[in-house]
Symmetry: C2
Subunit: 342 residues, 2 copies
DNA sequence: TTGAAAGCGTTACCAA
DNA sequence: TTGGTAACGCTTTCAA
């Protein structure tokens, strides 16, 4: 609220209070050995000058910034947004702050972002990788800075990871579909390079083969390449229309819904649907969309916990690969009885 | 890639290269007047020591951090996530970074976050307010730091804002519904305190009154208080079921879809629907959901542009209140012909 | 073309 | 209970 625009420094506070810089610093940090009278003097000066500490200088001196870098591919994906929100929530509890970067699915940008964050002296990094495997070069640079990877097992012992059993969850979900009597089940998604996608695909195939069914998939190279038209073609292509779709992530699931609408296919009567990753409108559809749900809140929390442990123990630990359980939410779209009807 | 874990400093680089600190600094910053031979010497040392500049120290000295603070209420709202992504994209072009905070709809947390970001010496702040009006106290602290507000007109001349004509857009949308012949149209949403919500509500009422219709609304105090059950009650409450719903934001729209499903109401035959704010699954529903769409990409871009202008010109400008046009996307749910059918 | 020295705003080690 | 003084890692006069 000062008229003069320049920000007050602790030095100025000290002068205004008629004490030394160090004494003002002591008051600021609630250190002991300050005479109450002096403290009042200093606090008064701080008040008058509307003093605000400069955390940049503080961090430089203290050698830790209180900043965590968060690297994600997209923010428009519900799962990612929910994770970031959970991460923020947990980081905040430790009075730290988040620096966020969004790579838009570009591994080169991702590598650049990691470097930028390291220069900014983040104390740790939480990465949701955008490409199949984190670029080794990117990772090399992080030596000395703790890293937690989400969605992909930690590539080195220097890092921790928080993942889910993608393959297992996919297998069980597909087995569930098979249990409904569907034989022609197609997996739909994009980006085989991604660890999550490839594992889910493997799980799908395992489930199919074990039941003597022929795996069939439509997996585009990138998210953008998976068009609604291409999905429609998969529906009308052969004489044998798929009886069910296993969507490899929520984006694919939504596009499939889109395509099914265009083809006027009823769910689950004409084609059943089960997707990986929950999304905000899943229960608003008629019928509700069955999904494999990840514990986003816990993923974020555990990632931050692991990171802080590393930061404190200064890398004196072996890498941890945490695997959290998923939840198969059977709603209506997979062919299950319609629980949404009272 | 060094074996020793401590990070190299420019000082060490200089020593290793056998030059002075300043010379190393000159090389680092591509300053002229460095003998090519010397430059090579320094670059070699940098390479060997895997030198990475410390942006904290740099910022402290240079007195600008290259960091923009972004304050949002939720990340799980599609509109917000899209805005943040757009902001990041534009900020990145200026080689700056984003510090993100999420208030979870708590004005007290929001005020705290603003203070934290200021202490961290952000060069500017982009705020999507969580409460009706930004807490004056929060804003007071920002004096000297440029602020751009999204979704709400700048409360003071010290700030800029990027908004949309909420009232007008709502009015036109409701008029469109009325044009379809609906008479009993109900507005559904939450948080009257929010500038966006209250303006949209006013627009709705104006449109209704001008046509001699009686406004009717269901507006909960907070997002969480707007339950699906309460919406269902609105549908069955009176003998006069609403003929159409005007949802005040996407969260309300999704909950309405949910409620309509439970009540087995067909869209638009039983009840038509038009919502404020687009969302990722809007076109996947049958019929597609008609919405008023905000230009998120442009909102983010313009917000950053305004902010950087202020940062450069050092507040020598009057506050700008940018108002960007919305788009009324008539899909199927409002009762329009069904363009989604080929 | 190069370098010594003084800061940026804090914190921390010793004395007083 | 206090206060010099030296860092933190970098940039920036001003000389040489």
């Amino acid at each position: 609220m000062r008229g003069d625009s320049q920000k007050a420094t602790l030095q100025q506070v000290a002068r205004a209070a008629g004490v030394s810089l160090k004494t003002a610093s002591r008051v600021l940090n609630h250190e002991p050995h300050v005479k109450p009278t002096t403290e009042l003097l200093v606090r008064g000066a701080m008040e008058r000058l509307a003093y605000q500490p400069n955390d940049l200088a503080r961090s430089l001196k203290a050698r830790h910034s209180g900043v965590i870098g968060v690297v994600v591919p997209f923010l428009s994906h519900y799962f990612v947004a929910a994770c970031v929100q959970a991460i923020h929530h947990e980081v905040e509890r430790s009075h730290a702050t988040i620096m966020l970067t969004v790579s838009s699915g570009d591994p080169v940008a991702e590598a650049l972002h990691i470097r930028v964050l390291l220069r900014r002296q983040v104390e740790g990094l939480i990465i949701l990788p955008t490409s199949g495997h984190l670029q080794p070069e990117s990772v090399a640079e992080t030596i000395g800075t703790p890293v937690v990877v989400i969605d992909q097992p930690a590539p080195t012992l220097e890092m921790d990871s928080v993942t889910i059993p993608n393959r297992l969850a996919a297998r069980e979900a597909v087995r569930h579909l098979i249990g409904h009597g569907y034989k022609r089940i197609i997996a739909i998604g994009a980006n085989r390079n991604l660890h999550t996608i490839s594992e889910r695909l493997v799980g799908y195939r395992e489930a199919m083969r074990r039941q003597g069914l022929k795996p069939l998939d439509l997996v585009a190279n990138t998210e953008n390449e998976l068009s609604i038209e291409s999905i429609q073609k998969a529906f009308v292509r052969s004489t044998k229309t798929p009886q069910a779709v296993f969507a490899l992530n929520s984006a694919a699931c939504i596009k499939t819904l889109h395509a099914m609408k265009h083809c006027r296919l009823r769910i689950p009567e004409d084609v059943a649907l089960l997707g990986f990753d929950d999304f905000d409108t899943a229960e608003a559809f008629q019928p509700s969309i069955s999904v494999i749900s990840q514990p986003t809140e816990e993923i974020g929390r555990r990632a931050v916990e692991l990171l802080f442990k590393r930061i404190q123990k200064h890398n004196k630990r072996a890498g941890q690969r945490l695997v959290l359980a998923t939840d198969l939410l059977l709603r209506g779209s997979c062919g299950c009885g319609k629980p949404q009807h009272r």
